[in-house]
Amino acid sequence: MKIGIMVSEGPYNHQASDTAYLFARNAIEKGHSVPRVFFYHDGVNNSTKLTQPPQDDRNVVNRWSKLAEDHGVDLVVCVAAGMRRGITDDILAPGFRISGLGQLVEAGIQCDRLVTFGD
């Protein structure tokens, strides 16, 4: 089954991005596909390559990048929400791309399910 995901909160401050990642990884392990994760609201803050979490903590941004590399997950950051919050191409981590809200609606149409994670 194709499962689309929306993430509405940034890394670390809320558990939303952690839960979304663990859900996505387990969905893929079970043989489903996660064609796209759409980052909206403060969720756009998951895409910056500038984060440096403590050594003994998980790296939320890198985990998303690796999921994109290993499983072809399309990580889309909303352009309008990103501009409001200072997310630009210059600081984008690998695997993320900036595009419009239409990509969220498209994921809703083309995936069998759309699951939202937020505050």
């Binding site: 499962i3 387990n26 699951v115």
Partner: protein
């Protein structure tokens, strides 16, 4: 339909709204801070108990473990892992997150 609730019922109103809108036979999955509502002794447990007549209540095990609440889960609440969360999403025809 699968209703997903992620906030503590002693802090916010989202569990109450989800239960009000959950039709007979639908499922409610508690994740993140929402899992506290499915534990013995919480004032929120009364809401879960009365809802169980009409809907199936699930709670995410890893979130219960992380909060030291695994041994306190109410009878009748089914504990699932992330794989079980995925199954719930695929088995129901749609899902809604009560943020």
């Amino acid at each position: 339909m699968l209703h997903i609730v992620n906030k503590s019922a002693t802090e916010r109103n989202s569990l109450e709204s989800a239960l009000r809108m959950a039709t007979k036979g639908s499922a409610v999955l508690l994740i993140e801070d929402a899992v506290y509502a499915a534990t013995q002794g919480s004032v929120a447990a009364a809401k879960i108990k009365s809802a169980m007549a009409d809907v199936q209540i699930y709670a995410l095990g890893p979130d219960l473990d992380a909060r030291g609440m695994s041994s306190r889960v109410l009878d009748g609440v089914k504990v699932v892992d992330y794989g079980g969360f995925v199954d719930l999403v695929t088995e129901h025809n749609s899902c809604q997150s009560w943020l």
